[in-house]
Each structure stands twice: as structure tokens, then as C-alpha cells.
Symmetry: C2
Subunit: 391 residues, 2 copies
Amino acid sequence: MTSSFHPPIRTLMGPGPSDVNPRILEALSRPTIGHLDPAFISMMDELKTLLQFAFRTTNQLTIPVSAPGSAGMECVFANLVEPGEKLIVCQNGVFGGRMKENVERCGGTAVMVTDDFGAPVDPKKLEEALKRHPDAMAVAFVHSETSTGVRSDAEVLCTLAREYDCLAIVDAVTTLAGIPLEVDAWGIDAIYSGTQKCLSCIPGLSPVSFSPRAAAKITNRKNRVQSWFLDTNLIMGYWCTDAKRSYHHTAPVNSLYALHESLVILEEEGLENSWKRHQLNHLALAAGLESLGLGFAVEEGSRLPQLNAVSFPQQIDEAAVRRALLAEYGLEIGAGLGALAGKVWRIGLMGYASNRKNVNLCVSALGNVLNAQGHRCDVSQAIAEVERVYV
Amino acid sequence: MTSSFHPPIRTLMGPGPSDVNPRILEALSRPTIGHLDPAFISMMDELKTLLQFAFRTTNQLTIPVSAPGSAGMECVFANLVEPGEKLIVCQNGVFGGRMKENVERCGGTAVMVTDDFGAPVDPKKLEEALKRHPDAMAVAFVHSETSTGVRSDAEVLCTLAREYDCLAIVDAVTTLAGIPLEVDAWGIDAIYSGTQKCLSCIPGLSPVSFSPRAAAKITNRKNRVQSWFLDTNLIMGYWCTDAKRSYHHTAPVNSLYALHESLVILEEEGLENSWKRHQLNHLALAAGLESLGLGFAVEEGSRLPQLNAVSFPQQIDEAAVRRALLAEYGLEIGAGLGALAGKVWRIGLMGYASNRKNVNLCVSALGNVLNAQGHRCDVSQAIAEVERVYV
């Protein structure tokens, strides 16, 4: 006989999932009701309004996809791309590469604009590509590259896309609630995010939003969307109607309770306050890590406060450090991914996990483990540097 | 400011979601851990074994898709169908039609074998189609049609498929744990189910399983799977490997806790006992409903015990009855779907919700509401008929 699974208690400071707020776990476990229950329909309406608030948009087509962030990415490309269409995809990390995969699997062509892993997307390169490819239909880029901890200038990139009459498609999986994001003001046409990052909700849902311009393109497609499950023309009959809701698929009822609660918490805090909190805790973490003798893989101006790509002296056995943090402190930090595998740690300070307690825990635990492995550093000095930021 | 959402307490006896066992809701709310945490990886291994147990299979490629049942359906077709291939799709309800949609969106051709809504798939019609279309690659059918409450003879249909050298693709969304299902013994090549039916788990996941023959077809595809998110070639690197797990997408950690718990409960009860329990409660419900003067839309030999398509006298305002059940008893039963909309109720007795208490509640509440709406029936007699079945 198999036993029930009782997970160990961790502090999640990797690239996501981040620690889930206990209020959200409690909401998640409320009794399931039907996906066509009038009470559930009212909750869905609130959820759309809350997502519009978080995205800063009035887009009607703003909903949570019933699957993780990579399905949100696929939802955006599968709905917008028709076979034979050309898109410019900016890649400066793992997730830009995944965008290319998606474009190609939808029958489109991806013109790649590449920057180094660890650098932001270069607007000049994008503009050159836009000039060379006047037939491009859209520009796609990752706002917050979870694989490298880099923030690109979404406003500038979207403005360029608009100048060259392209739709702007933005990956905001790690962005939402962590750093400023203005879907309407920046002219973003299609955007997807995740719930398990700065919303501190459970993994498994992907909020998406489409501008009226993007929605019109979907409505006027020549070919059917290749995914039935992700076809927004069908999903809208359930999520976006004042008339009788039509059944499409069974909504993930409890996960949507959790997302609702996480957005209620965000509304209580205020979006700007959430952005400020992420920045403050990032600065405190950075002060502590630098005092320990660690560096950043990303230039100061492009660092994501919610995901810190931390470099370390070459002689450190980075996997052993992560194992010790997990075993001795229940603390999860992330390994590098793609081109940065083995070269950085990814330390997340996302949502609920972005707090003074966690910054202190991370700096002291990391310092202790480094000392135990023979890399001398002054933990109390590092903690003092952390606390100085909060004063 | 938006308030937290507190759902009303319902008894879910519709076509799904069914009532979730409180043990599963509690498991769902356990603290989130990372999707690459060693403790989580161990849980995943158990989960695969438990799914093999529930499906009665030794298929290695047996995993939960990170999205609802309709994504499980899409996972099966997107992986197995290459452009230009022909499949025979049996349709006797709404979900057979959705299979056709999926085949076509994957670039395949669906040869339809149709039976009336409310009738099982006719093996003779299938055999005729197999003879007419020797180039067909697969046969697809719905084992338990959730839209009509009909069970088709999966063993016979799979045997036919195998005789004509076709893969057998089976929709078991409402089947799993409710009625006998033998993936290996019946020669099923690809199957998908849902968690919100007879597993009594939350909606949002779809267990799937592929036979070695089906897995080989996927591995040897000429074209890439059109969905990145559902590409089992990629998913296997995370779920089905003894080597280092590679990141594909962030697993829906908490939902997987819930699925694990629901399968632990199923293992404790035993699969045969679960089938017997569903049958017994169905007989009791049927006795009570017939005593109230209601009928069944499906012939006795083809009725699903877990989903009862109930017919009623024409003069009844069926929507008013459902509204009264919900408002006065917190009891959800389902409306008809597709060709049976307005003609039947769909009363589910699925998983945890399939119990003596619910059968009594449903018969007495329905009788009381019918009386209140002027349709005379003898509730105490009906309850006596229910109880007679349990003696």
C-alpha cells in the first residue's frame, strides 16, 4: 500500500514555484463547486477584473489559461500565428528559444534577434531586424528572463513593434506583480504570465491578455487554431460572455479559487507597493551577497529584483552548496539553466517569498554553507549589510 | 476592494466535477515544494505506479497531463496523428465530436461512425468502416459518454481495432475507477481520463497512458508534434527517466499532491470494490427514480452507473427543478448536453459522491421538488425502494 505524501517544509527561493502564501493554500482547499454554478460564474467575473488590474489593462480577453505558463505561451502563439506568417523573436535566454519552438510548430517563421544570455534585448538589433523584415507580423520577447535574471526594456521594444506595424507579444511569466508592467500604456498586444512566481500562487495556471487588435486577428483567422483546448474563440464562450456560458472544458475550480485569493492579496497591498517591496528586498539581498564575496551575472541596470542570477568563484562546487542548503536549511535556490548551467545560482525573491526574513535566511545560510565548505566569508558582516538596507 | 471568495457548500451530483473527498482537499493544501525537489521526484514515481494500477497497465508512458481532460484528449491526438493520416472516430455523443475536431486540427482525416445520442457504439458499424478504410491508422471511441450516460463495449471495439491493425484510442474521462477498465488486457493503445469524475479529485489534470506500440509511433514521427506543451517526447524527459530530470514545464505541484492522495484512497478501497460500489449505488438510485415515475434515456445494459441520464415527463420545467435543487438543497445535478439538452438530467454518482447518503438525498430532494411543482409522486415509497437495494 502506498502512503499519503507529506511534503517536507521548504523555503522556496528558486526560479519558481515560490513560497505560496498560506492564505492562498487555504483558499485552494475550499470545497469544490461546479464550473457552471452561478456562484462560480460570479467569481470568474471578479477574477477577470482582478487580472485586468494586475496587467493594467482594459482588454476584454483577459483570462487565466487552465494550464501552466508554457501553455499560456502556446495559447498566445497558437491563436495569433497562422501558417506562413513571419515573426521576429528576440532571444536572450532559454525562454526566447521556447518562443521560437512555438512559432515554428504553429507553421510560422521565426526571425531570431539574439543577445547573450545575461544581457537584455538590444533595441537596436530589433530595429535592424524590423527594417530587414517589413513583412513581419509580430515581435515577441521575454520581459523578465527567468533563465538569466535579466529585465529587458519592454516599453521601448513595444514602441518599436508598433512603429513597424507589428503586434507586440510579451512573456511576463516572472514579471507580473514583481516589476512595473503596463499592458495598455506600453501597447502590448498579447501577454502571458504564470501564477507560481510573483503572485505566490500554486503552479498550474497562466493568466493571458489580448488587445482588441490581437483579438480581431484571432477572430479573422483564415485557418482554425490548431489547438482545440487553447482556442480562444471557443474559450471566450465560457469566460467572456454576458449570455449563457457555454461549456468548453471543465475549469480547474480550486486552482482558480487560489488565483482569486492571490489577486485579492495583491489588490490589498497595491501593485506599486508590491513592486517597491520586491526592489527593496532585492537591494538587501544584493548587499548581503556582495559582502559574502559573490557577484551578479547581470549588469546593475538590468537586474530583476525577483530573480537574482548570482555568480560565484569557480572553485565552488555549486551543486554541493545547493544540496547543503536544501538538506540543512530546507532552503531551495535554483541552478543555472541553458548557457548558464553550472555558472550561476538563481535566487528568487518572488511575491510572498520576497521578505526580510527570507533575505536574512538566505544570506546567513549561504554564508554558513560556504564557510563549511572552506570558502571563508564573514556572515555577521553580510547580515549587517543586509539590515543596513532596511533602516 | 474585492473580498475573498467563499464557495457555497454543494453536493455535486452532476456530470463532474464530483464531490472531492476532504482528504484530497487537505492533501491539495499541503505546502508547495519545488518541481525538481528530490522529495517531489519520489512522489512522481509513486504517482506513475498508482496510475498504472488504476489503468491496469504496465505502460511506461503513464503520466498525468498538467491540464484538464480535454487537454489529455488533445495530448493523445496531437502526439499520435500526423498530417494526412486517417482515423476512424466513433461518435455517439458530444465527446466523440470533440475527437473529430482534434483529429482534424492535427491535420488528420476522421472517418465518422455514428450512433444515436443515448446508444452505445455499434461494433458492426465499426467493422464495416474498418473494411471500407483499410488505410485507417487508428480507431477512437468514447468508453463512457459523459453527455449521454452510455457505456460502449470497449473490449469488443479494441479487439476489432487490433484485428484491422489499427491503434485503439479510448476516452476514459468518466470511466476510470467507476466501471471495469483493462488497458493492457483489452489492448488499448492510448487512453486519457480526468481527475474530477470517479477519482473524486479536483478538476485540472488528465491521466494518460500510451502502449509501447503507440509510444514507438510517437518516437518515430516524421513531423514534430504541433504542441510543444503536450509533446510527450519532451515530457518524458521530466516524467519518465532514471537519469537527471530535465525541466520541461513547471508541474502543477499541489494538484499532483491531490491526485496522489486520490489514488492512495483508490488503492485502499481496491479497484474492484470501487466498481462494485458504483454499481450498487446506481441500482439504488435507479430504483428510487423509477419509483418517482422517472425513466432512463439509456437501455439497461448500456447504462453507466456513475452517470445516469434521466428522462422526465415533458410537462416538467427541467431547469426550474435544477434551480430548486441547487437553491433549496445545495444539490447540483446536470442538464442535458448536445442533442439531449432539455431532454434529460445527468445525475452523477462518481467516486466519493457515490454513496448511500447521496442516493437518499437525491431521491428525496428530487421527489420533494417535483411535488412542490405540482408533479405528484410518493417520496417515502421511493426512499423505501432505494433502501431495499441496500438490504
